[in-house]
């Protein structure tokens, strides 16, 4: 049973999309993504001197006629894609509730997974939390149900150290590919930079999708003295909430997001912000193509 946003129409629309990669990876099967290896695709790559044993069908007879030398045409190999979707499943993703933040985040992940599965590529879902858990590789759109079960059945909680958690997952990662990191990124800049740099070090083509709730973008606390408790560390601070404090907070959040976006831009990472009250199809079909995530 697919979640509510995944209507047949929505799925049909998703099937029209294909992820775009900015790197070439070695796939396992023939696919639609270019590989650094030479192969038999229709895309010409280079010439090389003929060597005995080469297939005579690839000889370029025109060059032979002009230069009296034998050259064969070399084509790119097109392979399938291995995609890794990392979903932040720490306690902060359950604010104000699991349904309001984690599920929208998982819906984004599932939509992207479906795009990958529909292209007969491989997708693996990773839950980022204090204890690492990951799904097996799924391939083919019939595995969408498995993806849904894995993502929506996740328990949200615990504190997250992004770099540590990613490191756990990356140690078991054998093939480079596309990495999609879905998180609220409400952590110090140094923390998310360390995590994203780790992904870069594994030669992954990275996309970062920041998921926030409307309450986080525009908190509606009652005016007065508040004792705010961090959902992950349980640390408590006293805060006097009023109009000025609200504006201060929004300024800080905008600055934080801008810093994240700037870092992603400099690091060649696709970045996009998704606020939970936004329509999912609008985000998938308008925003993500705009940042170049899809071909």
């Amino acid at each position: 049973m697919l979640p509510a946003p995944f209507t047949p129409h929505f799925l049909t629309q998703l099937e029209t999309l294909r992820l775009r990669t900015r790197k070439e990876f070695l796939g396992s099967h023939t696919g639609s993504y270019s590989s650094p290896r030479r192969g038999t695709s229709l895309e010409f790559a280079d010439y090389r001197r003929y060597a005995p044993g080469d297939d005579l069908r690839y000889l370029d007879w025109g060059i032979y006629a002009r230069t009296d030398r034998l050259y064969v045409k070399v084509y790119r190999e097109e392979v399938d894609l291995f995609a890794y979707v990392f979903i932040d499943a720490s306690a902060s993703m359950a604010f104000p509730s699991r349904e309001q933040k984690f599920l929208p985040a998982s819906h984004v992940a599932l939509a992207l997974s479906y795009v990958i599965l529909a292209n007969h590529d491989h997708v693996k879902l990773h839950l980022l939390q204090d204890r690492s858990s990951a799904s097996p590789f799924y391939r083919g759109r019939r595995r969408m149900a498995d993806c849904v079960n894995f993502a929506t059945g996740a328990n949200v909680g615990g504190a997250l150290d992004l770099a540590t958690s990613l490191s756990d997952h990356l140690q078991r990662l054998r093939r480079p590919g596309k990495a999609i990191l879905i998180s609220d990124f409400l952590m110090p800049a140094a923390a998310y930079q360390k995590g994203l740099n780790l992904l870069r070090a594994f030669n992954l083509d990275i996309a970062a999708i920041q998921v926030l709730t409307r309450q986080e973008v525009d908190p509606d606390f009652p005016a007065g003295s508040l004792a705010l408790i961090d959902s992950e560390s349980q640390r408590e601070i006293r805060y006097q909430w009023n109009g000025t404090a609200r504006r201060d907070y929004q300024t800080r959040l905008a600055h934080h997001n801008l810093e994240l976006k700037s870092f992603c831009h400099q690091s060649g990472i696709h970045y996009s912000l998704y606020v939970n009250d936004r329509d999912l199809s609008d985000f998938i079909f308008a925003t993500l193509p705009a940042i170049g995530l899809f071909k």
Partner: protein, 606 residues
């Protein structure tokens, strides 16, 4: 500006309590948030400030102002206008001699009085009054402020207790009669319910004090020449104290002993075997609030024997008393009693006689005529059976009442408060009264003549009654203010007061009424000197812990038109009520606005 009820100003100390509801109301609401990353710089960690930063709304300051005005209104502030005709009443009772940081309360009162006089215009007039021995004017004519200052400085407190007086009535009467714009009573007593025209200025603080509350010198018994001194010390303090008690005569120390007095209790001791002197003083060594009551005086019994004045129409019966050692008896007929010199007698026996008024001496009344003020007599009874008697009692000790059978008696019907000592089946036979330090015994039977061993029960009773009356003979220390009986005054008689002032006695005077200071008074009469002791004998004066308040009640129509004070408090009250209404009007709207803002749904943003 003055405050009629300055104690209400202590309410200002309670103003910080107004913060409490705000602290409680502002107790932070606990909310879980995804991450505090963006709050860290601006917020405060809970450990640093337990209450967080106090945010006080402007309504708090409105309430603060309202409460301040209300408290000020309760303290009844008054604008004073310079009065032109005032009265200053100085409390000059004994407790005003209590020390307050090296100065007496009376000196403080004088300073306060001078300060009050500074408020009076130069053309103003002042009347000065003192409270003891009774509330009366110091000078007949009104004084200018400068003259009043001089008169005040020349005043000194008496060693007298506060007279029982209703100051509310007295002062209001003064205000009415003399049209005073203001009457200021300066006293160590607090006041309740001061009025605009009548003010009480309190001086002095509560203090611990110790006092000698009893000092008696008496012969051990009729036949024993030795004297014994009984001293009682009372603590008006919250702590136990070990005191050194001295028995002195003049500058000579006769005996010294330590005495432990528990907090709030009395303790007494007895000195015996000390040398004979004409007068004695008892002293306690202690630094306390009131030095005056740390010393008391007493005069030794006038003679070693008992001088008896017998007034009887049957002298032979009383002649028999001469058989008792130590008894010196002088017999006069009832008709000669008023003409006789009654000084120097320790006992007066009225045998079938009674004086017009109770004598200032220990007295025995035997079957007095109907005209006496103590008892009425019942019908004569023969063969009386004694059915009841007080035991233990000096009068009844060693008496075998089974053998005590007066042949003739008339039961007594007491007409005043006293004690029935012996009672028969027909009614009381012996009735004793103690009044103003004198003992009066009335008998419904005649114990005379004294028959010695021939009638042992009656003889023992006779000796007992002489002992009982002898116990209190002599000039015991009486309260200051008690008049000194002068007897027959001759030319050249004079009284020497404790401060050494010699006052000629007016011929024809029966009493000297000016014994306002504690000490020994000497009456010089015909070359002889008789001493009288006067002591401060009022426990309430010695108790400096909680002086009784002076109750004043505001009375409509009393001097309101001439008051020098302008009441400010009604205006403060009105302003505070207006502020209260403003707060009542605004606050619910603030709350509903706040509710609306919180209840507003979040806007959908794309």
């Amino acid at each position: 500006m003055e405050f009629l009820n300055p104690s209400a100003l202590f309410g200002l100390l309670a103003l910080p309590l107004l913060l409490l509801p705000y602290l409680i109301r502002r107790k932070p609401r606990r909310l879980v948030f995804s991450s505090l990353l963006l709050f860290m710089d601006a917020g405060e960690t809970a450990s640093r400030r337990p209450w967080g930063r106090i945010h006080l709304p402007w309504i708090f300051f409105l309430q603060l102002l309202m409460l301040t005005l209300l408290i000020l209104a309760l303290s009844e502030p008054m604008f004073s206008v310079r009065p032109t005709h005032i009265a200053i009443v100085l409390d000059n009772s004994a407790s005003m001699q209590a020390l307050e940081g090296g100065k007496t309360r009376f000196a403080l009162a004088q300073a306060k009085a001078n300060a009050l006089l500074d408020e009076v215009g130069a053309a103003g007039t002042v009347d000065l009054y003192a409270t003891t021995p009774r509330l009366e004017k110091i000078r007949a004519a009104s004084l200018t402020p400068a003259e009043a200052k001089g008169a005040i400085m020349s005043m000194e407190p008496f060693d007298l207790a506060d007279p029982p007086a209703d100051y509310d009535n007295l002062l209001n009467q003064l205000a009415r009669e003399h049209k005073y714009e203001r009457i200021s009573l300066i006293s160590d007593h607090p006041a309740r319910g001061q009025t605009a025209a009548i003010r009480v200025v309190q001086v002095g603080q509560t203090q611990a004090n110790f006092a000698i509350t009893q000092f008696d010198i008496q012969r051990s018994s009729l036949v024993n020449a030795g004297s014994e001194a009984t001293i009682e010390v009372t603590s008006f303090s919250d702590r136990d104290e070990k005191l050194k008690v001295r028995l002195k005569s003049g500058a000579t120390d006769l005996a010294t002993r330590d005495l432990v007095v528990s907090a709030g209790k009395s303790a007494s001791l007895t000195f015996q075997g000390f040398a004979d002197h004409s007068f004695y003083a008892a002293e306690i060594d202690v630094r306390d609030g009131l030095p005056l009551d740390n010393r008391r005086y007493a005069v030794a019994p006038a003679t070693r024997g008992l001088r008896v004045l017998a007034i009887t129409p049957r002298p032979r019966a009383l002649e028999s008393l001469r058989a008792i050692p130590g008894i010196m008896i002088e017999i006069v007929s009832p008709n000669d009693y008023e003409k006789s010199s009654r000084t120097g007698f320790g006992l007066e026996i009225f045998h079938f006689a009674a004086p017009a008024s109770l004598p200032q001496n220990n007295s025995l009344f035997i079957l007095p005529p109907e005209s006496n003020s103590l008892v009425d007599l019942g019908n004569p009874v023969n063969d009386v059976n004694v059915t009841n008697w007080r035991d233990p009692h000096t009068l009844t000790r060693y008496v075998n009442f089974n053998l005590f059978r007066p042949s003739y008696a008339r039961p007594l019907k007491p007409q005043s408060t006293g004690e029935i000592v012996i009672e028969s089946s027909k009614g009381p036979l012996a009735f004793s009264v103690e009044r103003q330090g004198f003992r009066y015994l009335t008998l419904g039977f005649d114990p005379f003549p004294y028959l010695g061993r021939d009638n042992l029960p009656m003889s023992i009773f006779t000796l007992n009654l002489l002992d009982w009356l002898f116990e209190s003979q002599g000039e015991r220390g009486r309260a200051t203010g008690t008049p000194i009986p002068l007897g027959k005054v001759g030319a050249g008689d004079r009284i020497i007061t404790p401060p050494g002032q010699k006052i000629a006695v007016r011929p024809g005077a029966n009493y000297f009424a000016g014994a306002f200071f504690q000490g020994i008074y000497q009456l010089q009469h015909d070359g002889e000197s008789q001493r009288f002791a006067r002591n401060l004998q009022d426990r309430s004066e010695s108790d400096l812990r909680a002086p009784a308040p002076i109750e004043l009640r505001s009375r409509a129509g009393v001097n309101n038109e001439t008051s020098a004070l302008f009441a400010l408090w009604p205006y403060l009250l009105i302003v505070s009520v207006i502020l209260l209404m403003l707060e009542w009007f605004i606050n619910p709207r603030m709350r509903s606005y706040s509710f609306w803002r919180l209840a507003k749904p979040l806007p959908q943003r794309s």
